[in-house]
């Protein structure tokens, strides 16, 4: 026990080990050459954008999301490897967001990490013995070389690298992927940490080894009384490994709850899609064809309202429909018809779609020379008829041709908030919103989400 822990006021037994409140981690991206030249930053990526989360003592919390969801950034913020932009992270009652590096260093003994790529996680210039023993030297715990070697040997044997003398003087290149990951785990373990952040620890390993590493981690958790934050994109391994699951999408937690509840009855459309997309080793199952379209959008300019709405099959009025969705609708339509003669005609009718790239809930497009806004309207109506169940049309409040312009208004976007629903918490308008506000989501939107960027 460190002295600070004694000085701190005693906490109730049920207090979470880590308590994250409205955490934000943003980073700026460099733009093109000209922007770089004048030193202007092109935009801010909201990698973690208001996450509230507890990690309870002794649990395995799975943080699941696709690339670009911000799950790795959240882990790195917790480790103090990237600075938090706002919000609070309390570890064992102590605030660590914004803690200076020097103070953070003491805490590092208690929060350890296992990275995804075992081949890159070990210094190629250090032997396994040196690498695993180095944490003890860093923290000045063990200076005697012989004793250090003994402790390293002990922990190597504990993670299955036995007999240890076979591995102590080897370099990482001499080891297989699974063995390297064991060494990485040993290095994290030797400091006797409280919390282990495991960022995709098995995703780069072969199938036949994954189970072994997962089992090892579970055994170590029992024996060393550890708490895990398991960051992964793989809901299948998470099912085995985690007590609770948090699903992340574009910097936000969209669903969180006990693992059995999430798997038995996934609430958020995104969670459902993730589960359905996992290829199952079952030949009776065909490739799922009702997967959400598109990919995780750019976190520098996330969709309005619910970030998932452009891909959501169940999205409706308040989900945040906007100009960029119109562009995608048109593009998808043209992709379907690609190669047919009238596509170019249709494209000419709408001209340059670039103005639609600026998020806005009110679209006003001028008809090109020699064409009328009515023609544009007719095309949209035809697209609507072809696929009337397309969620996009639920978001359209007004669509008409007014003196040479096509005008299109969307319903006011509302950002969903995490709300309890049947044992889990979901951030989705389908849950936790009164039907009245769904039916009339017009002017009196409860949240003051800015409606456009213009």
């Amino acid at each position: 026990m460190r002295p600070e822990a004694i000085v701190d006021p005693p906490e109730p037994a049920a207090a979470p080990l880590v308590s994250i409140r409205d955490l934000q981690t943003h980073y700026s991206i460099r733009g093109n050459f000209a922007e770089r030249l004048v030193g202007r930053e092109a935009g801010v990526v909201h990698a973690v954008d208001g996450v509230t989360l507890d990690i309870r003592r002794g649990e395995v919390l799975g943080l699941v999301g696709e690339s670009g969801s911000g799950k790795t950034t959240l882990g790195r913020t917790l480790l103090g490897l990237v600075p938090a932009t706002g919000g609070s992270v309390r570890f064992d009652g102590q605030e660590i967001a914004g803690l200076p590096e020097r103070r953070m260093r003491e805490l590092r003994r208690q929060i350890q990490v296992v990275f995804q790529d075992p081949h890159a996680s070990l210094n190629p210039a250090m032997t396994i013995g040196q690498a695993v023993g180095h944490p003890l030297q860093i923290h000045g715990i063990e200076r005697n070389r012989a004793r250090l070697r003994l402790r390293v040997a002990e922990v190597l044997e504990r993670v299955g690298l036995a007999p240890a003398e076979q591995y102590l003087d080897k370099y990482p290149t001499d080891l297989s992927g699974g063995q390297k990951q064991r060494a990485v785990i040993a290095r994290a373990l030797i400091l006797d940490p409280v919390l282990l952040v495991a960022d995709e620890p098995v995703s780069m390993l072969d199938m036949s080894v994954r189970a072994k590493i997962l089992e090892l981690m579970l055994a170590l958790k029992r024996d060393f009384d550890l708490t895990y934050l398991y960051i992964t994109h793989d809901l299948a391994t998470a099912r085995f490994f985690c007590d609770r699951i948090a699903i992340m999408y574009l910097g936000r937690i969209v669903e969180i709850g006990p693992a059995p509840a999430i798997y038995a009855d996934p609430k958020h459309p995104y969670t459902r899609a993730l589960l359905r997309a996992i290829p199952e080793p079952d030949p009776e199952r065909a490739v799922p064809r009702d997967l959400p379209r598109g990919e995780v959008p750019d976190a520098a300019q996330p969709p309005l309202g619910c970030h998932f709405h452009p891909r959501c099959p169940l999205a409706f009025e308040p989900c945040g429909w906007e100009s960029r969705d119109l562009r995608e609708l048109l593009e998808a339509h043209w992709a379907r018809l690609a190669g047919e003669p009238d596509v170019e005609e249709e494209q000419a009718l709408f001209g340059d779609l670039a103005p639609l790239g600026r998020p806005s809930t009110e679209v006003r497009l001028a008809a090109p020379r020699g064409r009328s806004a009515e023609e544009m309207l007719a095309l949209l109506e035809r697209i609507r008829r072809e696929a009337s169940d397309e969620p996009f049309w639920r978001g359209v409040r007004r669509l008409e041709a007014v003196d040479g312009h096509l005008e299109l208004d969307f319903h006011e976007p509302q950002s969903p908030q995490l709300a309890a629903s049947g044992g889990v918490a979901v951030e989705c308008h389908l849950y936790g919103m009164s039907t009245a506000s769904v039916a009339q989501p017009n002017r009196d939107s409860p949240t003051g989400e800015p409606s456009s960027g213009s």
Binding site: D206, D234, D282, A335
Partner: protein, 339 residues
């Protein structure tokens, strides 16, 4: 009718010492419009086999045997002749779409170059129409035809790569882990596109993957590779329902999916392919290993339903010497002797 007939193909990599037997006596047929899944762990030789078929071997590697395409043996053809075949006949899709597109060329330029090289007689209009149509089927809108690769996301780039291969209407597409670097939902989208190749493009597909889930969902037949050999091959349903080779069974058991109820792993590690173990290459890890397995290479056995397997458990009895079926006495495998 098979599009491609691989007979006794061997591909060795040169080393300062003895060669690495990456693909060792492999026979394989791919029917017209068929989706064949080639599954194996890293180092099993599955990627080498895919490259060997296309004649895309790195320096220092040599192939021996036959890869019969349209009556010609591709092994031993000059690079020039192979290049002419690659594209219009044999297409290839790689794992990393990011690195395979020239960042300085627009998507339209990529298509123009490809079509110009292989179908020089096409008019500009026709070329454009075919490119847009193929891209459209892959879900890329015509509005983005003139953009550069960096303006597309990873999944879009893989779609473009597939379209670039399909625009020449190849008879066979070899896809080497085409979805490995993609997210799971995008992976599903791409797999749906690949599974529809037969219907939309009349193209056969050799899908190389480590993921049995992908094989189950997207393939008609599957071949399981271990240590440079195809140990089992057959229709996907049959192999999943009743795997004939112990390695296939172990691999199926160790796959973690949503339906998995207990964790399982295969003890030990794949063998060194410079000096593979005598007899069956899986015998040191096999739970059913017999004495004969450590001595003699298993003969290929045909099972019903067009299946084949290389395992002494399936005979032939005449190949097993007296006492050969007794259990093999082995050293125990250490916990960390793994891949």
């Amino acid at each position: 009718m098979s599009v491609l007939d691989v007979r006794r193909l061997r591909v060795f990599y040169g080393t300062p010492g003895r060669p690495v037997r990456a693909v060792d006596d492999v026979s394989l047929q791919i029917g017209e419009g068929e989706v064949l899944g080639l599954v194996g762990e890293s180092g099993s030789g599955k990627s080498t086999l895919g490259r060997g078929i296309l004649g895309l071997l790195p320096e220092g590697a040599r192939a021996d045997g036959e890869v019969l395409y349209g009556g010609r043996n591709l092994v031993g053809l000059s690079q020039k002749e192979l290049r002419r075949l690659r594209g219009p006949d044999l297409g290839l899709v790689f794992q990393e779409p990011m690195t395979r597109l020239n960042p300085l060329l627009r998507i339209s330029d990529h298509f123009r170059e490809t079509l110009k090289q292989h179908e020089p007689r096409l008019s500009d209009d026709e070329r454009r129409r075919r490119s847009l149509e193929t891209l459209g089927r892959m879900g890329i809108p015509p509005t983005r035809f003139r953009q550069y690769p960096h303006e597309f996301s990873g999944g879009m780039r893989q779609r473009i790569m597939i379209a670039l291969a399909l625009v020449l209407r190849p008879k066979l597409l070899v896809a080497d882990e085409p979805t490995t670097s993609l997210d799971v939902i995008v992976e599903g989208q791409i797999l749906a596109l690949l599974a529809d190749l037969k219907r939309n493009f009349d193209t056969a597909l050799l899908l190389i993957t480590h993921n049995l889930g992908i094989v189950a969902e997207a393939c008609d037949r599957m071949a399981v590779m271990y240590a440079g050999k195809i140990v089992e091959e057959g229709p996907v349903r049959d192999v999943f329902a009743d795997a004939a080779h112990p390695y296939t069974r172990e691999l199926l058991r160790s796959t973690i999916s949503l339906e998995t109820t207990e964790l399982h792993s295969i003890p030990g590690a794949p063998p060194d392919l410079i000096d593979p173990p005598p007899g069956c290459r899986f015998h040191p890890r096999c739970p059913h290993a017999m004495r004969v397995c450590a001595e003699r290479l298993p003969e290929e056995q045909r099972l019903e339903g067009g299946r084949r397997v290389q395992c002494w458990l399936h005979g032939p009895a005449r190949g097993i010497p007296a006492g050969g079926e007794l259990p093999l006495q082995r050293q125990t495998i250490g916990v960390a002797d793994e891949a």
